[in-house]
Symmetry: D2
Subunit: 368 residues, 4 copies
């Protein structure tokens, strides 16, 4: 109810602040019997980790995860899996003057209004650092989905600031600091360098997909699969928009174009983005998100202090010039968490889960 638990059947309770002693989460509801160790989780944390290129924050956080419970002799026991990440790099002096002013675009003002107090150290609980435990939990979900259905979760950068990035191949994504699906990212490097020199920041657009998703996931009215995906994505810091399938482009489409026709070999297109009536079709889930430009910039901004007097704010410290760059593994994790939740819900209601079907023919016959 206080917004720190994600999911119900695969429930992830997140705790910690950017500059407190530790961050982490408790995963409750992971099915028993799955092989699990820190080595399954660390790689995704490393993909999200700061300090890996000059285009992201230079903070050094090893983000080493420790499994505290829920695993016995290398297998999940069905009981809560607690994951702990100790904070190591806490230069809170960088943030000393924040407490007296409200940084534009930041949650300073709203936190103070909500709670009557705030933890200024690195943004406290509003820091994007709190996505690390979600990436860790998402890694557990990804492993389970991969083993159960061969589900593959992937994300890539679609746009950085004004620079649109065409899709060439998933193979490129791991080989550049932008998660860009292109071979040559020299122009992106140059763009980011100029932005950093200008003391400014830019937004990003990310695409996330899931392949081999069981058909029939999602609830028809409120917990639609796409509604839960939208909720999960908007839960990532700085996200301002979410699209499923054709998204906002569907406004100008005709019904005769948008509605994906069916053939004995399967759907002919995927404007739906893998969801019809809130329920998965077995096609790829296709999601796109908009991430606003980083609010912490060197450019001076007009603001007010705690007494409501005019002042100017410059945010020093080590910040990402484009928070969207590190958002790709986060969005993948969030999508994985939504999917595993809905698989478990489906099992509760139907006792079996239907694998995604290559050909509709067979599935219809089987269901009929």
């Amino acid at each position: 109810m206080s917004g720190n638990t994600f999911g119900t059947l695969f429930a992830v309770t997140n705790f910690g602040e950017s500059h407190g002693p530790a961050i982490g989460c408790v995963i409750d509801g992971c099915p028993p019997g799955m092989a699990l160790s820190e080595a399954d989780i660390q790689p995704d944390l490393d993909r999200r980790r700061p300090g890996t290129s000059r285009h992201v924050t230079q903070r050094q956080e090893p983000d080493q995860v420790e499994i505290l419970s829920g695993v016995y002799e290398g297998r999940t026991t069905g009981t809560p899996i607690a994951l702990l990440i100790r904070n190591t790099d806490q230069r809170s002096k960088d943030y000393g003057d924040i407490l007296q002013t409200f940084r534009p675009g930041h949650a300073d003002y709203t936190y103070l209004q909500k709670y009557g107090l705030r933890d200024p150290r690195g943004g406290g609980r509003s820091s994007a650092r709190l996505t690390a435990p979600m990436v860790a939990a998402g890694a557990v979900a990804k492993k389970w989905l991969a083993q159960a259905y061969g589900t593959v979760l992937r994300g890539c950068m679609q746009q950085v600031g004004e620079v649109s990035i065409p899709f060439e191949s998933w193979d490129h994504v791991a080989h550049n600091p932008f998660f860009a699906p292109v071979a040559d990212t020299a122009h992106l490097e140059a763009y980011m360098d100029s932005l950093r020199k200008a003391g400014d920041s830019c937004g990003a657009r990310i695409r996330v997909t899931a392949q081999n998703v069981p058909v029939g996931l999602g609830e028809p009215l409120f917990d639609k699969l796409d509604a839960d995906i939208a909720w999960a994505m908007m839960g990532i810091n700085a996200v301002k928009g979410v699209e499923i399938g054709a998204g906002f482009a569907s406004v100008a489409q005709r019904g005769s174009t948008h509605g994906d026709s069916l053939s004995p070999q399967g759907f002919r297109s995927n404007n739906a983005g893998g969801v019809l009536g809130g329920i998965s079709t077995g096609q790829d889930i296709e999601v796109s998100i908009a991430i606003k430009p980083t609010s912490s910039i060197l450019t001076p901004r007009e603001s007010v202090d705690m007494q409501g007097r005019s002042t100017e704010v410059v945010t020093k410290g080590r910040h990402d010039p484009c928070v969207g760059i590190r958002a790709t593994p986060i969005a993948e994790a969030m999508l994985a968490l939504v999917l595993i939740e809905h698989v478990l819900r489906h099992r509760a209601q139907n006792a079996d889960v239907r694998a995604p079907m290559a050909a509709i023919a067979g599935s219809a016959a089987a269901a009929g």
Copy 2:
């Protein structure tokens, strides 16, 4: 868990099918002591009702609401408010052949895969008719929010198909069948007529706003106010995209532009759309949604039958050529339901709710 309840503290459980005996909802958690009668609810139902112009479905459903419980001597008692709407116009013969095929863009295929069976009468549970109980529940929420904080919820059409609609004034919205904020809608009428003649349909883009929203609503991590809004909007039939504030436009913005600066008189702009760090700022909440074109069209479409054989589908019956037209009161209702939920959550945690502040100066001093 089965996706038919919206909210937790102000929980609305929706029931019914398009062509069953009745639809309705149970509102659990409405604070006691508010004056309430059917007359508070019926006007919003009438705004959503079909058959009001030639541009929407010609089905005749009076959608007369009956309060079954939770009100004593004209006041809410704090116990569940059950609302009942009997279905009257159930021409299920129109839908006879649907059971044997899957209509492109519809939930036929996914329902069959999820449940192993489906109710073909008017789409059963996947029908947009199920938004009527939400509009009814939303009217209760709206009344409470208006009395408590003077909150005003409004929506209007921003785009129909390719036709963008500039914002002139809220005053026009009630005086045309499109909820368009413009004086002259002749071009929209002509556009819709041509579409109907072509046996096709189009999408729509809707804007929804809330004025006078208390500051401090929303949870910082997962139940962010904007995440819950995104979830609610994606829960409306046919919605494929959601934006808060600057939305997808924020991708190409610079941080120096996007971050709304603060002055002693208040925020200088509202790129945030009224939400920072998941928590309301007291500015207007600004939401925009994309609605896909109606899937039920007269144009023949390729599909398969229950045995997986190729077939062609033409959807007769009485359908909206642009489902987005009637979505405005629905989106308002959904936004109202999200806001009242978060007001009650805030009261649980903080015992007081802060009114939206004209000047930040005062609020900062008060909070500090």
Copy 3:
């Protein structure tokens, strides 16, 4: 959150007041495909119904149930099942003076304090009449459990006031107005008659059991199967105590006696009442509950009025001299609702449910 929904995966939302237009419930989460009609539900409602003997209230409520949704062509569709019971016998004049005083043992005082107002008609929402929708929902759960696992739910009277009732046979329960498992109930009739003449009331002790319960149901820490049973039973009006298995007698037992030993043929005893560590053993679930004497009695009682002045209260009207008499079908329904909830939870987590085992040998080998 406002206490009107029972369960999460098989969620029953209850609405209505004793003397309002209607009472009912919405069942969300019933698995699809089960044959269901009003005829499956009415018999249990008739068992609970008032006016069936001179030992219960003489109110005449036919309690005719109507299925409003969730069933298509005689089968559940997996969508919400709304059940409606219109109130017919609303002699609210009987309750006219209640509004000015607080009846001892009643919820008058606490309702006023909680809500700031109260509905005095027949106790409003605090009336035991609200158990009728639970009995209806329980009938749906019972049918599903019976079909899936052969689960049998039964209850009987163990004690009426000071009169203890030995267990002779389940066969007798349906043939006397007390749900007593004995052939001869003449002494109970006499006891109740004398009580009624004295204008007083008495308590009761009820036993409820479930046979053929799958093994492995229940969560180890908080949602223990026995904890959820205790919660459900205490949720029945007037219940003041709950025991599982040996219950309070276990205080004076030794560990060497209490712990049920295991043999290749199964457990040797059932002090556990079918639950170990919060999880079902596959043995019979054994529950016992204490129900306080009816608070509405003809004997004058000391009380205060709304202004806090001394007064005397006599409750006229048509009341059960022992509310426990009609509690047996209610307790069965509540137990059924707890069990189906846990079956669905187990399916979510484990994808299969283990049938109760005749011999532990086989089960251990199978599980191992």
Copy 4:
């Protein structure tokens, strides 16, 4: 949903196993601004701790708690409070042979059936050791309730095995190892010594009370205050029965006796145990629980092994001869957690909480 979270608005998620690296919990929903440090929590943990007398297990667990998050400069921030207790004394060799057999009265069999595997080290997740994080969370709840309403939570031993313990004074409770409210406990010491020599164990009956509880807490139908208390108490390991107020004694009471009459000075008695219609009356909450005898005893017991063959079990290791002895601080903590949850729910619905009233007169006038 997997039974590891207690509460919704004040939600405590528990993790860990008896012999894993650590146990702990995350408290989500604690109101901001309360002074809090480890020193507020440790005393209650020390009261529950093993090894404090010869009558409880001789395991040495310092149970040192560390606050990982949710507190900034000594005050709660309104964000999750993570509490960590490292396990130090993990002699898992003691439990080596348990994996091959099922101990009578233990959860070995049900865990295996539920999960398909089990963690045998000290009972894993079914160990009473998992009550330590609840005692820690309860200490936070107690502090908040005490500051807000002066609520006092207390518990004492009522019966050990066959030995009933009269109530003399709360003052004695802290001065003997049994939490007994009597000055002289020599006979209890002798009783326990003889039991230990016999290699056997006994049950216990505990009383828990809360003074200065706000009136109006609890929901009328399912989340009755007493129902939630029953759920919480049955969630404590080994509890087999729960009573509120007169409890099972109310069966043989008359209505004219049981119903607590009201006077201008307040209620004349407290058979209700502080709850009427599921809602607190402002009187003391009175709860009594039955705890079964310890299942781990030296006396040999008949059982079966994993292959279903007859075998004999003797449980060595360091076990409490009466688990009930250490249950008093646990039951207090559970009651505190139920109360704070309902205070927060009440605030959500009513925005104000009514203090317990000395005289009904004033309260009635105020409410009316």
